[in-house]
């Protein structure tokens, strides 16, 4: 199996064309394997989790509903999620044999995603705390403890602030893959006809340079396939649904707050 597609261009140079599309299937299988492994391991701790949920602490002094995501954050998440799914569908289905007119939907959706990401960067930088989502050394330690606990049992990591270490890591991975796909995607718009600027196939690079742009776009895409599978899996997992609902409704229940978060690391700022 090849990782990349290569060809000889008219000048006799061996150039990269992009990733080999079989990587899409590998990304999908990787997502599936992760899902199966997690489901298998989950059986070991789910009983304990249920017991802990039943005996969850409470603090009547706190609001019943604790705000976790603002309306702006939720709208951004919805736009980004729908765009991402559409981009993966339009990007990969034609490569695996389902033919339809995908290109316009793809680049228009890509621009919507880009706009939503720009909004998110501004919103997160000036109206939210970047610290909440930044991965620190303690998060890496927590992550290791979480994994050790999942595989061999043992001590649970300390309760996190607003976001658990795994969620922060996911955010970072999605940011890296997403930015690779977005930046290269915008460059690739110089190679198609669209109303924003004139097509100019050799504006930035020669055939060799463009090959790397296509490779990065493809790698970003396939990594996002795996991440999307994992994300959807966690979103529908029963013990994680309180988080999924919070992305829809904006708030979490007081008991979930006390059970899953450390109030010292993430103090309550709003709720009712």
């Amino acid at each position: 199996m090849n990782l990349f597609q290569r060809a000889t261009n008219p000048w006799g140079q061996d150039v990269l064309l992009g990733i080999d599309w079989s990587l899409f299937w590998i990304a999908l299988i990787a997502g599936g394997v992760f899902l199966i492994l997690h489901l298998a391991l989950r059986r070991r701790w789910i009983g304990e989790e249920k017991k802990a949920a039943a005996n969850a602490p409470d603090d009547p002094g706190l609001p019943q509903k604790i705000q976790r995501h603002s309306l702006a954050s939720r709208l951004f998440h919805a736009v980004m999620g729908i765009s991402m799914i559409l981009l993966l569908i339009t990007g990969f289905l034609p490569k695996v044999g389902l033919q339809f007119a995908w290109l316009e939907i793809h680049w228009i959706t890509g621009l919507i995603l880009t706009a939503s990401i720009v909004f998110h960067i501004v919103h997160a930088t000036f109206f939210q705390s970047l610290k909440n989502v930044w991965v620190g050394l303690s998060d890496l330690g927590d992550m290791m403890r979480e994994m050790r606990k999942a595989v061999t049992g043992g001590e649970a990591p300390a309760k996190p602030g607003k976001y658990p270490a795994a969620q922060k890591m996911f955010h970072h991975a999605a940011t890296l893959a997403g930015m690779a796909a977005i930046v290269t995607g915008i460059l690739m718009m110089w190679r198609i006809e669209q109303p924003l600027w004139a097509q100019d196939d050799y504006k930035f690079f020669g055939d060799g340079g463009w090959g790397w742009v296509y490779v990065l776009h493809g790698v970003g895409g396939v990594v996002l396939v795996t991440l999307t599978v994992a994300h959807v899996y966690f979103a529908i997992l029963p013990e994680k649904r309180w988080m999924t609902w919070s992305m829809i409704l904006g708030w979490i229940d007081r008991k979930d707050y006390l059970r899953h978060h450390d109030p010292a690391k993430w103090p309550v700022t709003g709720g009712k």
């Binding site: 597609q5 060809a7 000889t8 033919q99 007119a101 316009e104 196939d201 090959g211």
Partner: protein, 334 residues
């Protein structure tokens, strides 16, 4: 740059005597198989060593793919019927003269003796960047070498480009669209029919193929209904060399005209788009109109709205406009 070689690369040659046998081989080899009809397009590809299939399925020995027969509602032409037979067939000349006329403009007599109707419809594009074996979009790459500022793109499209700007070179396709023909496709799962205008696929949908045919399918025949039998037809092909060339633009029309008024019509133009274009908007406006120079000019003007010529093919816009005008005017009583 591809160079014609004396020898062609090795492949397994299959010469099945039934369509089922051919489909079985195609299904087994899928993308690595090549369907050989008359060989007019095929051997260029092989000698240039651009296409290197593992298996070649020669349809020449399958009797059910050849011949022209009358059916309940029209005629059916086997895909392997040589173009010369299409040109000479009395039934076709009498009822569907436009098809005979279009087939007669294909290449040379020798090529028409060997080339088939199916081959003329299914043949690959003539874009020389693509045929040279360079890694363009159509060949699975990420660029169209025919659409850069320095490209030579005199023969390429003025409509519906989507990364690739190649056109379908078929002369019989516009005539069959004008005749409202149906393509009969056979696969292992059975038969399906597709309207002639839907048989061709543009690069927006599938950039590596020219038609809806899947790797394990074969164009079995072309059915032409009675609907347009004996109508007023017009076909014209403009090419660089009248003796033997692919179209720069070709036009085909079928009309029912009474007292100079168009009752119904179908109009198709080839070599201006990756697929043969059916001119729906022109047809709509033409219905109910009394044919005149003025009507022909206005409708022809409408036909070229939206054209986006490349650097060297701007001439195709007035050429297409004039051919549409002539196709309409050609129906006027003399």
């Amino acid at each position: 740059m591809a160079v014609i070689h004396d020898m062609i690369p090795d492949f397994e040659l299959y010469q099945p005597e039934s369509l089922d046998g051919a489909l079985e081989v195609l299904d087994r080899h899928r993308e690595s198989a090549w369907v050989l009809a008359g060989g007019m397009d095929t051997f260029d590809w092989f000698k240039d060593r651009v296409k290197r299939p593992e298996a070649v399925v020669d349809l020449g020995a399958i009797p059910e793919l050849s011949g022209i027969g009358e059916t309940d509602g029209g005629i059916e032409i086997g895909a392997m019927t040589p173009l010369t037979e299409v040109v000479d067939n009395e039934l076709i000349r009498e009822r569907y003269g436009i098809l005979a006329e279009a087939a007669e403009t294909v290449a040379t007599p020798q090529i028409r003796n060997q080339g088939t109707l199916g081959g003329n419809l299914v043949q690959d594009t003539r874009c020389w960047y693509y045929r040279a074996g360079w890694p363009c979009y159509r060949a699975g790459g990420n660029i169209c070498y025919a659409d850069t500022p320095e490209s030579m793109n005199r023969e390429h499209c003025i409509f519906d480009a989507s990364r690739c700007v190649a056109v379908t070179p078929s002369d019989t396709a516009p005539a069959l669209i004008a005749l409202d023909a149906e393509m009969v496709i056979r696969g292992r799962r059975g038969e399906r029919t597709v309207a002639a205008e839907d048989f061709f696929v543009g690069p927006a949908i599938d950039i590596t193929r020219m038609t809806v045919l899947q790797p394990n399918e074969v164009l079995q025949s072309v059915r032409i209904p009675d609907t347009w039998a004996g109508a007023d037809f017009y076909f014209e092909k403009v090419r660089d060399r009248n003796a033997w060339d692919f179209p720069l633009v070709n036009v085909a029309s079928a009309m029912r005209v009474e007292d100079g008024v168009v009752q119904d019509c179908r109009l198709s133009v080839g070599a201006v788009s990756p697929v043969p274009l059916r001119m729906d908007r022109c047809e709509e406006l033409l219905r109910g109109q009394k044919i005149s120079e003025d009507v022909a000019t206005r409708i022809a003007e409408l036909g070229v709205i939206g054209a986006k010529p490349l650097r060297h093919n701007g001439y195709k816009v007035p050429l297409m406009r004039n051919l549409i005008r002539r196709a309409i005017r050609g129906q006027a009583p003399v």
